[in-house]
């Protein structure tokens, strides 16, 4: 590992000096959003979401748990044994939010939480408020279930974020003391404990800590934990990704968030160590996920039972688990794979999951959350529970701070750099000032209404010789899309370089004011699912640009959305409705409603004559982006719509 850098800058996943990463990240504060989609969301996140979450942390005893260990609170441990992780995740999110904006109130909250954490650390570096005091002698006694290492990983990520943003090393020092204890405690040497975390997370945390401190032992420890799996140390179950060594696994298994955090951590290890066997394992896991285990939204995790990934093609809609945290974890893994490889296939999934698997996790007003993200809902209340809606908090509150840190980090996903190249991954109107590895500093402006429009104008403000790697999304290909994507410079088309699902490279000597125009077709796409995804037989999903759409009952009064059919020859119109759901492009078309004939009232099964009786009437349909659903009260929703 190289020496520790003198200058500290906010960076989301710092691979700047990772020997095996092709791409380098860009500091958060190098980018200033100017758009109407993400900028308001980041402001809401800082002003409302993070501050409301702080109050939840306070109200639910999560902060008192630290005070208790620090000696300032007289009472029992409150909540679930892994609740420290929510505090750390919140702290990471709040730190990233402060990377680009001044906010004295939030900064004060951050400072007070850092102090609390500092004071709750034990003399030997151990830090976990559940296993403190009266449970101090139970440390490390159940690595599989009790999430001590998981909490530690979140501490490390928070500490790195806090240090990069504030320049303060206080929390980083806390993290290092704990990490040093963990390094001393776990391993194969005499007197060490052989073990692996039941819930991965520490792998990413340790690698980031290594990057932030220059201490390679944290990287080695991450590699140790990855290698410790599959040896039966934590029970040998696929649920915990412990049934085979990670590098021999042929698919993601078990608890979805765990599987994805582990894969993201492994990608971090590949970025540092370039282990080709591990890289092959990651490719194998990735390929199977995108072809058999992932929802059209980029969500992962089919089963409520165990919050788990199911069998290949087991992707039910109403019963999707699709935990918000798993959608976020998919973004995190995809981002790391992109940094290693520079391949646009990862960017495609990152973008898909960001807009359609992570973002639906939070309400438009920034105050309520989905833990579970079904792709269909019939709108009927379940006896004893009710209709699934977003909630302000959860007993197990992993998702709220996870979505908050993701929104806070969002600008970090826009660019990477490598040598003399600037990589444009996903598009948002912004102004950026990017330092290339070759020493050049390039200023540029992006003007676009993405994700509503496929036109992106990039204006170069720095003259010189450098290149742009412009992502052409895979969603620009196939189907009845009409015009192909195009790229032009100063209104002159670039030929031959524009392939959907790849980065288009433009190298030239730029003059100030040169403009690149990227034109991505944003026709409405009828998407079909693999024939083995049984619930989607005969159904299509509508997509436009990076967004998955859905039908919601608020726009279709008196219609059971399960009865809606879209004709094969339907044409679609789209309109921007700035009054609706914070401003969205809606898709409109003419379809049919075909209600089940009367004979179905008495039996769910009928002997099939050549044709059942048809009750069909025409209807106008309005589809909205899936991320915006469930913001108009409880109701029904369908992503996959019957085609006819």
């Amino acid at each position: 590992m190289p020496d520790r850098p003198a200058a500290v800058a906010p960076v989301v996943v710092d691979t700047s000096r990772s020997p095996e990463a092709r791409l380098r990240p860009v500091p958060l504060n190098a980018i200033r959003l100017t758009d109407k989609f993400w900028k308001p969301r980041r402001e809401l996140n800082r002003n409302t979401t993070l501050k409301a979450q702080y109050l939840h942390l306070e109200k639910t005893g999560r902060l008192d748990n630290f005070r208790r260990v620090a000696g300032d609170f007289d009472g029992d441990f409150q909540g679930i044994y892994f609740n420290d992780s929510d505090v750390y995740k919140w702290l990471e999110g709040a730190s990233w939010a402060l990377a680009t904006d001044q906010d004295a109130e939030l900064a004060e909250m951050v400072a007070s939480v850092v102090s609390l954490i500092e004071r709750a650390q034990e003399a030997d570096g151990y830090l976990n408020t559940y296993f403190a005091l009266e449970r101090g002698n139970q440390r490390w006694t159940n690595l599989r279930d009790m999430h001590e290492l998981y909490c530690a990983g979140h501490l490390f990520q928070a500490a790195v974020a806090h240090s990069r943003v504030t320049g303060s090393e206080r929390l980083l020092a806390v993290a290092q003391r704990f990490a040093d204890l963990i390094c001393a405690t776990f391993g194969s040497r005499q007197g060490q404990i052989e073990g692996a975390p039941g819930h991965p997370e520490i792998e990413m945390g340790l690698v980031e800590l290594a990057r932030a401190t220059g201490e390679s032992r944290y990287l080695d420890q991450a590699a140790y934990f990855l290698g410790a799996r599959g040896r039966g140390l934590i029970g040998g179950r696929a649920y915990h990704q412990d049934h085979v060594p990670f590098r021999e696994a042929d698919r993601l298994t078990g608890h979805a968030v765990r599987a994805l955090y582990l894969s993201a951590g492994a990608a971090d290890i590949v970025a540092e160590l370039g282990d080709s066997e591990l890289r092959r394992a990651l490719n194998r896991l990735w390929d199977r996920m995108v072809s058999r285990q992932m929802y059209v939204t980029g969500a992962v995790g089919a089963r409520h039972e165990g919050e788990a990934i199911g069998a290949d093609f087991e992707l039910p809609n109403a019963r999707a688990y699709a935990e918000t945290c798993a959608g976020i974890a998919n973004v995190m893994w995809a981002w790391r794979m992109l940094q290693i490889t520079g391949e646009a296939a990862y960017t495609d999934v990152m973008e898909r999951a960001l807009y359609n698997a992570a973002l639906p996790g939070i309400s438009l007003d920034g105050t309520t959350y989905f833990y579970v993200n079904p792709l269909a809902q019939d709108g009927a209340a379940e006896p004893g529970s009710g209709v699934h809606q977003r909630e302000p908090w959860f007993g197990c509150a992993c998702c709220p701070p996870n979505i908050a840190r993701t929104i806070a980090q969002m600008p970090g996903y826009l660019y990477s750099v490598s040598d003399d190249l600037i990589w444009l991954h996903t598009y948002v109107a912004n102004e950026a000032s990017l330092s290339l590895p070759n020493g050049l500093k390039v200023d540029l402006v992006q003007r676009t209404r993405y994700p509503w429009s496929g036109q992106i104008i990039v204006e170069m403000l720095t003259p010189g010789e450098y290149g742009l790697n412009v992502r052409i999304p895979d969603w620009c290909q196939g189907g009845d899309l009409g015009d192909p994507p195009t790229l032009s410079i100063n209104n002159a088309p670039c030929r031959g370089t524009v392939v959907p699902g790849q980065y288009a490279t433009v190298r030239r000597t730029w003059a100030v004011g040169d403009s690149v125009c990227i034109q991505l077709p944003m026709n409405v796409r009828r998407v079909k699912a693999h024939p083995h995804i049984l619930e989607n037989t005969g159904r299509i999903a509508l997509m436009r640009g990076p967004l998955v759409y859905c039908l919601e009952s608020a726009d279709h009064k008196g219609i059971d959305l399960r009865d809606v059919r879209i004709p094969r020859d339907a044409s679609f119109e789209t309109t921007f409705r700035k009054d609706l759901l914070g401003g969205i492009q809606v898709i409109q078309t003419n379809g049919f409603v075909e209600e089940p004939a009367g004979e179905w009232r008495t039996s769910a099964y009928q002997c099939a004559p050549s044709e059942l009786r048809r009750n069909r009437r025409p209807t106008e349909l309005t589809a909205i982006p899936y991320y915006a659903w469930a913001n108009r009260g409880a109701g029904a929703m369908q992503v996959w719509i019957r085609e006819d």
Copy 2:
């Protein structure tokens, strides 16, 4: 309640003196099976299944738990806290098996288990080997979760069976002592505990105990337990059917077996008390179940999570839970509804569930069991577990003795009597000697190859004036079935009385040797599912007579069954293959295999052009009865097949 009968006869659910039951059951030993389907199964059940289960009870400590309380075994309680129930269920099954057959070895096992139970009873009548000795002070402390009343209910059912079959009152006395303690303990009077069982079962047990002993207080106690639900006494959750009073419920909810046992118990209460509000509640629950919550097999319970009933129309195939016990519970409930009402709609479901939801729970060799009954299986092993197959036993072993007692009882489901009528419910070759309530004793013979053939000849051996109520199954109607069902007497057709889904009544003065011929069309039926059952869109199930069929990989080497398509105009041939799977009628047809095109290898979602590329080849298809699947090694299976 009338006085206790002097003569004891084996009867499955004795409604003989239930004031509100239209129908009366027939003693098991009044029927002698002569067929090749159920008779060999009952013999296998007695010779192999029940004896092997006894060894499991012994090996797993379930009998030692009784010995331990009796003072004969020095060791800890073994297994799960409700393991006593498995012993009772086995005892009930073994008793019913002995109702019709001599078996000294089995009788000896029964006698020894009865002694053990007797000796494990405490002085005050309490009997539960988990809450004995060191846990004696924890009795009744957790009615919701700890299943003491559930175990008691199974004891009562076993005691009634044992008493009816053997004439011995030893176990009945044990049951009464415990029931008396329960009656004294639970209720609304001063000093009593207000409570309801978290797992229903005791309701049926108490009603049967009331019938067997003539003691109406057991009936009152059953009614108390039913009425205690929905008052929040056990937590108020829909999972435990405690979110609303039973008589206000609009659907079955929660744990499927609990919901169905409770409904069966409520039907028993209606049979005795004729409560019209309760009867309406049962009708409401039933109608919703058959129209929205039941699999085509008669199985109930969509969710692995909580072994629970899902939302309306939530009926996934590969992920069906469809617990064998729930299929059996459905038979039990349907039987009780039939006894109350005399309506063939209940017989239809009873038969459907018996053949297609209960029977698949046991292997053809009588030694292994399904707990979970998927309606589809892709044949791939789940990492860390493997392909779903029947197993010789389970830690939670409710299903094996449940299927054993069901097979032992089977002849009891063939007939009922009322006034001067003999009811023929489902058909099996047999000789019967039936005592009618009007005092007449009628001997008759059924000759049929049912369920393989729809021709049933009933020969009357007793002259006189009495009637037959002949069930015409609902599956004789609709679709492309060709000839309607017919009924003829001495070769002369009876006109106007034969309606599918109803009982056809034939009253006349019979002469010895008169013969009734029932001809039920057994064409292959293409069954469709309600459009809201999303996985079945575009798919059909094949049925013939009462049997649901499936495709199994053993008959289709090299084909992924998910790719099979049956043309809309396919014609079907059926052949009896006596060499195959114990002798089955197979369905054969010509279909297609359409493998997913290559583009699906890299992504589960594709932008849909007007037509995706087709890889289609013709293939011969062989469908087997669903109950017979998974008897030729691990493999794939599909009930619902894509129609094209």
